[in-house]
Symmetry: C2
Subunit: 352 residues, 2 copies
Amino acid sequence: MGETRTGSGRPTTIVDIARAAGVSKSTVSLVLKGSSLVKPETKARVEDVIERFGYVYNRGAANLRTATSSFVGMVISDLTNPFFCELAVGIEEGLYQRGFVPILANTNEDTERQAQVLRSMREHGVGGIIMSPARGTDAWMLASLYSRTMPMVITMRQIIGSPLPYVGPDNQAGARKAVEHLIGLGHRRIGFLGGYATMTTQQERISGWRDAILGAGLPFDDTLVFESMPTRDGGRQAVEASLAHPARPTAVMCYNDIVAMGATRALAMRGLRAGKDMAVVGFDDIDEAEHNAPPLTTVSAETRLMGARCAESLLGLIQGSDPQEMGFTGPTRLVVRESCGAPVSIRQKELA
Amino acid sequence: MGETRTGSGRPTTIVDIARAAGVSKSTVSLVLKGSSLVKPETKARVEDVIERFGYVYNRGAANLRTATSSFVGMVISDLTNPFFCELAVGIEEGLYQRGFVPILANTNEDTERQAQVLRSMREHGVGGIIMSPARGTDAWMLASLYSRTMPMVITMRQIIGSPLPYVGPDNQAGARKAVEHLIGLGHRRIGFLGGYATMTTQQERISGWRDAILGAGLPFDDTLVFESMPTRDGGRQAVEASLAHPARPTAVMCYNDIVAMGATRALAMRGLRAGKDMAVVGFDDIDEAEHNAPPLTTVSAETRLMGARCAESLLGLIQGSDPQEMGFTGPTRLVVRESCGAPVSIRQKELA
DNA sequence: CAAACGCATTGGACCGTTCCAAAAGTCCGC
DNA sequence: GCGGACTTTTGGAACGGTCCAATGCGTTTG
């Protein structure tokens, strides 16, 4: 590579190029940014030298002068979770497409680490931050972390009371759609499994569940909410609690796919079959949902798209758009598979 | 935050602090790096101003001067894959612990994108790169991407013929251990499912499989290798091919857990039970392995640790260690669950 | 033929830090 | 009350770019 060209081990700079091409560094700078001011033959000469020297542009130095940055902080609450992983992939793609580069941090649901990481990102000069807040982040905490000069979008977990733009799926509409589907299949007692009322996501999904039940004129029974950790084991516990209920539900809507997978597994262990003995639907449509036994009926949150949308919103913010306009609650899509017990004819109809 | 202190919207700099504290910017710089040269009371005064102004250190500017970088490129071939996701988490943790910050790129197994991303990272001034190469990356391609001045470690997929340090699990020993376990359970015809001979990882795992068979004095039959894509569907195809074999194996070692999950699923669809009608073992011990039906017996690659080790090796390289010394092939651990059909007594023994 | 213009190029200040040689201050003993 | 040693502080160049006002230089134009 060009590092050897200069003689010393020092990497090639714009000045080296200028000297070798017999022009000033200003001209090289102009060529680098494809300015039309420079004469084509000069441009060709400079580009030739750049190529020969294997020159590498130093974006950091440039950014120092222009006080801009092509870095964006991507703060994820739990990368181990396939759902957030998918989100991260979407964000990453969206950023690269727009010439930005993500700095990754996984907070692991730890608010202390989240605070550290946010500070570190500021020091590293990110131009903005996309964050799925760690569980337990409230508006107050967020305010103390946030700097008015740092564009930031919040994703997947709404922080009530915060003015920051929020990008996420329409949890309520999604849950409603799913429960309406269950009602359409003839279910009258439909439970809700997993999550805790402290999570805004759960609140939203529960409210969609309630809307569907009330909207269909069915009796509403809030003892059919079985809270648990949003994990596989939580799903197991919740489904077992629901089976022990004196008037057990014939169908359950789960907080997310992980819970639904735990639930279907626990049913299978007891010799019950999801979709036959109890209808189960999930939320998120993670990759594994399709490969579950039985394949999960679930609500797609279009996670990838949502990630791309985060990137879009943040870059809007960076370019000075009104934060009010940059929020986005995305569409959801019911994906009918087997765990809800829909007959094949319905599954095909929904696909069409 | 302090941005308002300066009057203008411009962020606070070391010079603002110096002026306000009545010292020179050199002194502030000294304080910032905790130098013992500065008198405690001066230090206190400066720190007070820093606090009041909410000053944020500009690492980019500092790095420009010192020609160092606290960024590290983390190039992952397929973040969607839970295995690589786990790896990424390990790397991220390791880097943060050592004061470095990862720039993420997901190449999605695309060598072209890989080339772009590597260039972009150089421009962004990363101090080094950790990369799990995209499928199809050979030593020649790598050489053209690599710059002698850029520390780089390769992980999870060995590139034969490349002098770059490689960090990854001992695939051969791991596979051997797993197959020896199957032999210990009484199996005599043991197949290998998934992957292609072009993948070095498959070569290594296959060679462990062969070693175990030959080592036990069993007849070796290479028609028992059933290649396929390393996906769930690949697993299904491979296991079906194995069932169609005139002398079908009674046990199979799979290329990885994903393949094993596809295989167990396909068996279940045919009314066969993994662990009973056919023993199945996987490789990697991804999170889902434990939750598979039946839970997978697999070889743990200690993925997190391996990620941390990547970080360690890279930082060694950055500090000038000999690349030869920075390679690492990590330990593996057999995790006995149910898919191999081991009786409970053995499962408990292995746990102890 | 000088003024005016357009195009191509350039010098040097600037971004926010670090680093180093040198200056300033403090304390001591003689 | 001055030289020397030590501690603390400082000015300014440097890092690798960008930006802008200024310059040089052909051409056209009044």
